[in-house]
Amino acid sequence: MEINITINGSDHASDVEPRTLLVDHIRRTVGLTGTHVGCDTTSCGACTVLMDGNPVKACTVLAAQADGTEVTTVEGLKTADGLHPIQSAFTDDHGLQCGFCTPGMMLVGASLIAENADPSDDEVRWAISGNLCRCTGYINIVKAIQTAAARVAESSNGS
């Protein structure tokens, strides 16, 4: 079936089998491999993408269900000005170890700070509770998301 998904601002029209999962479509057809497949059973969140701004597990959404939506993958975080604040904060605060969960963590973090300029520890932990880090590096992940929030707040105050 014909679908058209706006991925990171670009239209991607394709003919897909109905059973194609969104994550496979993104990785194999579109060729963006920053979205990972971890557990493949809706548990780990490595496949997280934003669908119309909301984080979802792309292993549990059919590509056909994303027809007409706007999807953001980790590749879409970067802007013309450089890294997204969440990306530079993960770098600075060592918010990743092996990096496998990182795309999902950053997208959930970006989605959180878009709605909450100053999230508490509990709010960050609540937001990332559908994403697993097998390195168990949660402390720095939480810190990085809060750093990103503070930097975004600071730059919007300054401008």
Binding site: P55, T60, L62, Q65, A127
Partner: protein, 287 residues
């Protein structure tokens, strides 16, 4: 993993969806949030020949109060329930405990109810508060009381040709309160034990209506009718709640498994029932 092949029908109206289901017969399944169905299809536990996607149908995404009821449309996501101001008591308490934040962005309350997973959260909550499931078939709409709807593990009394289009949950007119206490090993896991409580108080402060239901400790979500009957007409007290908790613990038939021993789970039922009823009455007295 990926599902076996199927035909996808993207329905634009309830009528179209119901018609597509009639055409598809036994091999047809409705798809809403898909957070249970898609994993089952990937694991080839479910292999529908035709999937009828209802996500594009307009008008099914409202959660609102009307005529003394909370009405929940078939496309209301768990996250919408968390965010809604229209909810109350046990409904509001349970919503943040369903699955995890990402699953809540896709999964629907009605889908979860219709799925009848014996360890699902919503059916216990609805057994406690009371609710009608609204089903649309080729011959029109009918409403099914939740106690008659849940028929067994993954089994409801929904007709093969019917679609769950909404839920209608009575909103208490007087003072009321509710709670949903869930013990889970980690976010997104099934409950090890969960208890749904709903209480309404009359002008004298006595309990005028009570709802109590258990998750994950019986073959299906279980309403503890004898405890409910015990509570009604009484003034709330710790002794009364302890007595109700004993009835709940007796009604529970937990099994030893990776989540804990049966004896321990029964003790959690006892403790959570007492705490849940106390929280419900506290909320009711403050309302």
């Amino acid at each position: 993993m990926f599902p076996s092949r199927f035909d996808l029908v993207v329905a634009q109206s309830v009528g179209e969806a119901v018609e597509a289901k009639a055409d598809a017969g036994e091999g047809g399944r409705f798809l809403a949030g898909g957070q249970s169905l898609i994993p089952m299809m990937k694991m080839r536990v479910a292999f529908p020949e035709t999937l009828i996607d209802i996500n594009r149908i307009a008008g099914l995404d409202a959660i609102e109060r009307a005529n003394g009821h909370l009405q929940v449309g078939a496309l209301v996501r768990h996250a919408d329930v968390v965010a809604s101001d229209a909810t109350f008591g046990a409904i509001a308490a349970a919503a943040p405990w369903v699955a995890d934040p990402l699953v809540r962005n896709r999964g629907t309350m009605c889908g979860s109810v219709a799925h009848c997973d014996p360890e699902g959260d919503w059916n216990s909550v609805l057994l406690a508060t009371g609710a009608d499931v609204l089903a649309q078939g080729p011959n029109g709409e009918r409403s099914i009381p939740i106690a008659d709807f849940v028929d067994g593990a993954f089994t409801s009394t929904l007709g093969e040709d019917e679609l769950v289009v909404g839920l209608r949950i009575p909103v208490p007119s007087g003072r009321s309160g509710g709670a949903y206490l869930k013990l889970e090993r980690k976010v997104g896991d099934y409950a090890t034990v969960a208890v749904a409580c709903h209480l309404e108080l009359d002008d004298s402060g006595a309990i005028s209506a009570a709802g109590l239901a258990l998750t994950s400790v019986n073959p299906i979500n279980t309403k503890v009718a004898d405890a409910e009957a015990l509570l009604v007409g009484q003034q709330p007290s710790d002794e009364l709640f302890a007595e109700a908790a004993e009835l709940a613990a007796t009604a529970a038939e937990p099994r030893d498994d990776v989540r804990g021993t049966a004896a321990w789970k029964r003790q959690v039922v006892r403790t959570y029932t007492k705490r849940g009823l106390a929280a419900a009455v506290q909320q009711a007295e403050g309302s």
